[in-house]
Amino acid sequence: MNNPIENLNKIFDSRVRLGIMSTLMVNDEINFNDLKQLIDVTDGNLASHMKSLEDSSYVKVNKGFIGRKTNTTYAVTKAGQKAFQQHVAALEQMIKNIK
């Protein structure tokens, strides 16, 4: 019997990254400032977590402009969706095992 903990995704260990992914799963795209407000973290903190999600190619970044201001938006990739679903499935499995 395989241990569901092995199916947990290390990248989603962090609450912030888990929150980012949850948000992106239900929104087509979301910009940096809205995300920052939702997750309630500092600029630097959010940027570093986004970087690690980008590096795993779970999110794609779109850098644009609104007037002169930069407007960075994020969206989840196919790989990201799949990884997130597997992580949630593993969590569900663990809860079932506890019961």
Binding site: R15, L18, V26, D40, V88, I95
Partner: protein
């Protein structure tokens, strides 16, 4: 211990983040209660105006061709009723806005965010369409359609809005639509249906939502 609760906590966190980012969940139950009370007050005021009027004049008379025509006095009454309706709507809107504003401060979710803008448009579109339709009804003298029409369009707006805020508002919408449809066949009782739909149903919904979502937070 912590290890056992971790997956459940994670799932809760995911659910919470999904809801916060996609739905406007700061809609306060107290808003429903205050809007309902305003509607009841408005209906009571309208009712007293109407009964006062009936003592003095007869509302309708039969013209030569057998169609009913309004006496001049009734237009004054209609203007008064429209004024009451406008005041009621304004009072209901302002008070419910205040309670939802206070709640959004408590939950820390901006009142004017992506989720609330989406909620706003999806509520306003059916409401404006209904409003225009009912204005045309007024113009054509179809006064008996106003109460059922406003209930039906308001109910449809709520059903549409339920995808973008607390999902339970869908049931309030269903009830309003059903009341409106029944009212179509009991046109003489428009004001009572109006009071039941905009007054009582709002209050009941508001209390249920307050008990379900806000009382818990207050205790924490």
């Amino acid at each position: 211990m912590d290890y056992q609760n971790q997956p459940l906590e994670d799932i809760r966190h995911i659910k919470n983040m999904m809801e916060r980012s996609s739905r406007f969940i700061s809609l306060s139950g107290l808003s429903g209660i205050s809007a309902g009370l305003c509607a009841l007050a408005g209906a009571w005021l309208a009712h007293s105006k109407i009964s006062l009027y009936n003592f003095e004049h007869s509302t309708l008379f039969n013209d030569d061709r057998g169609t009913y025509v309004f006496k001049d006095g009734v237009y004054l009454l209609i203007n008064q009723l429209l004024l009451i309706a406008a005041l009621t709507f304004t009072a209901a809107f302002v008070t419910s806005f205040v309670f939802t504003y206070l709640r959004s401060k408590k939950t820390g979710i901006p009142l004017w965010g992506k989720a609330s803008i989406r909620l706003f448009w999806n509520t306003v579109i059916p409401l404006v369409a209904g409003g225009v339709f009912l204005l045309k009804c007024l113009q054509l003298g179809g006064y008996e359609l106003i109460a059922p029409g406003s209930l039906i369009f308001y109910g449809l707006a709520l059903i549409n809005a339920s995808k973008y805020t607390l999902g339970e508002i869908r049931y309030l919408g269903y009830c309003q639509v059903i009341l409106g449809i029944i009212n179509l066949w009991m046109t003489g009782y428009g004001l009572y249906f109006w009071a039941a739909g905009f007054g009582l149903l709002h209050i009941i919904y508001g209390i249920l939502m307050w008990v379900k979502y806000e009382r818990v937070i207050n205790n924490e």
